[in-house]
Amino acid sequence: MKKALKRINVMIVLVVLLFLSYIEFEIPVLDVYATKVDASSTSSKNPTDQSSQSDKGSESDGGSVDLLARVINAEARGEPYLGQVAVGAVIMNRVKSAEFPNTIAGVVYQKGQFSSVKDGQINKPFENEAQVRKAAQEAYNGSDPTNGALFFYNAKTTTSKWLFTRPTVKVIGRHTFAK
């Protein structure tokens, strides 16, 4: 009798578990990279940005510049202004190049091109939004501090040997820009 009861208990537990497992859990994404970068960039963060930004933040002048700003925010957080414009300029250069897709979204979401797209960094909230937006607009307008670069990488962390074979155009902040 007791044994049978035990069995039933276990069965109930299992059924409950089965139900539980069907509930969609939101899986927390590990975010090691973000915290690492945040720590280094907090020093340059300007608390006054938010106030001056609040009215303009909701204004959007075409999704392309917004997307550009997102990539810059994700790829070049804590970089100098020039470095941020440069990341935007690489994307614009790719749009102009025949070897890459012809739209900003196409370039940004091309498989395996930007680590920030792969690991979801691109959806992170803005940090120092005013500066990032200015940088995005500057790149969108055609300023190109990279002198025509199509690639950029962090020389310290990149594992792709192929990138090292590309002629380096310039180094800005932690990024190396190459053609």
Binding site: E59, Q110, Q113, V169
Partner: protein, 468 residues
């Protein structure tokens, strides 16, 4: 008796322990198993969705390339303008779609760059042919020869893609392996086979085709463009370039105090440049400057700071920018457009020659609207395009050009301008700014042929204003 009870209790305790641990272990195991299975299933499903998408892109790519091949053959035998332009339009569309699908495959960028370039060039070549046939011009023998060439190439592309297509049909293509290529997880031998090597194979066959196409936005003469203005100038020394940098900074506003200007090396890219970094006294942000080696011209000067409020108007800034450009040696400019963002205004200036606006010769100046300090200047448009234009005589009168326009349009301003077309060739045009149905338009009418060259609708973006 007492012993018996004690024994019983102990026994019961032990039993209880066993039972709870047993159940607990069972439950834990159950949770782990179920969760694991669930995750595995989810992963499988997601993976399948992704793979299906890749497969779809691959199938479509193959189809589009095949279609392009067929259409090119067709284009060579069609003779009527309507039929030909339809065919070219189709080539244009299909090759564009092919390129889009290629870009969405998880293939190394490196391996497919030439294929992508080929598709882009086919696409805009057929676009320019389409425009040509629509305007009534016959396709020349030379252009036919070019089509022949493209046809041969797309033959090759199609045949390689066909191999991949077969692999795909046989279920041999494993996209995750292809994706891992970048991670260097595959053995050398594995890299030699499969989709990836097939796609790189296509790229390898392109070496002899480089530089064949002369029309369209992606043609080689555009992508490897030379800076017209300074091409024949001689190189300046670092010291001269530094002097130029100083001049550039000195004039950004009244009483500028430069703390230092230091060399940051050189850069070889579209332009050969000397790089400088500078800093003002009492300012934290550094300034970056690029001076061309040839001719020692300012190519880019860029800095940023917070601008809290707006004290200058757009008009005042326009004047400041003009004055500034004059001081650094650029005269005869006209503001064409400005854009405000974060209390900074970016003004686009175009060069002017004999009252003709030269839109390709573009200079951008960014000014802080609080004290009118010049914060950025970018002159690549100017450096790459500026020269004394010689062919500036319109062949039709402005009245004739006006007759081309839609009758309902109310023209508010008109002038002569040189604009670049898609293949970056310069076109002399009459520029009309007007209004129709509450929408502002700018219409460019070719001053030689009297055709509408470009119609622009002015969309008022926040902060952006067109000045003419």
């Amino acid at each position: 008796m007492l012993e018996k009870i004690e024994k019983n209790i102990n026994n019961y305790k032990r039993k209880f322990d066993h039972r709870t641990w047993g159940i607990l272990a069972y439950v834990m195991f159950g949770i782990a198993l179920l969760y694991g299975m669930q995750m595995a299933n989810m992963f499988k499903r997601q993976k399948q969705i992704v793979q299906d998408n890749y497969n779809k892109s691959m199938y479509e790519l193959v189809n589009y390339v095949k279609n392009v091949e067929v259409l090119i053959s067709k284009a060579r035998i069609t003779t009527t303008p309507v039929e030909s332009s339809k065919t070219y339009a189709d080539i244009w569309r299909q090759s564009n779609l092919a390129k889009e699908n290629l870009a969405s495959l998880p293939v190394d960028q490196n391996a497919m760059s030439n294929t992508s370039k080929f598709l882009a060039q086919v696409s805009d070549y057929s676009y320019s042919l389409m425009k040509q046939t629509i305007s009534g011009d016959k396709v020349t023998d030379e252009q036919y020869k070019m089509l022949e060439e493209i046809n041969n190439k797309s033959d090759e592309v199609a045949s390689v893609l066909n191999d991949i297509y077969d692999d795909l049909n046989n279920g041999k293509v494993k996209w995750n392996e292809v994706e891992n290529y970048g991670d260097k997880k595959l053995k050398e031998q594995e890299k030699e086979e499969g989709v990836l090597s097939n796609i790189s194979k296509i790229s390898k066959t392109f070496t002899d085709y480089e530089g064949l196409i002369y029309d369209g936005a992606f043609s080689n003469h555009i992508t490897e463009v030379k800076p017209v203005m300074i091409e024949n100038e001689k190189e300046v020394t670092v010291e001269e370039a530094r002097k130029k940098a100083e001049e550039v900074l000195k004039n950004t506003k009244d009483d500028v105090q430069i703390e230092y200007i230091k060399e940051k090396g050189e850069s070889k890219g579209n332009l050969d440049l000397y790089l400088f970094e500078a800093k003002y006294k009492n300012r934290e942000e550094t300034i970056d400057l690029e001076i061309t080696k040839k001719g020692g011209l300012l190519s880019l000067f860029i800095t940023d700071r917070d601008v809290k409020n707006k004290k200058k108007t757009e008009k005042e800034c326009e004047e400041i920018g003009k004055e500034y450009l004059k001081k650094i040696g650029i005269e005869n400019v006209k503001a064409t457009y400005y854009l405000e963002i974060e209390n900074m205004i970016t003004i686009n200036y175009a060069m002017v020659q004999d009252n003709i606006t030269l839109y390709p010769d573009l200079i951008k100046v960014k000014i802080a609207m609080d004290d009118g300090e010049v914060c950025s200047v970018e002159t690549t448009g100017y450096i790459f395009n500026h020269k004394e234009r010689t062919d500036i005589k319109p062949e039709i009168t402005i009245e004739e050009a006006r007759n081309v326009l839609n009758k309902n349009i109310k023209v508010s301003e008109e002038s002569v301008a040189i604009i670049p077309n898609e293949s970056k060739k310069e076109v002399l045009t009459y520029e009309f700014k007007g209004r129709i149905n509450d929408k502002d338009f700018i219409i460019y009418v070719n001053a030689k042929t009297g055709e509408e060259e470009q119609v622009l609708l002015i969309i008022n973006t926040p902060g952006g204003t067109l000045t003419m």
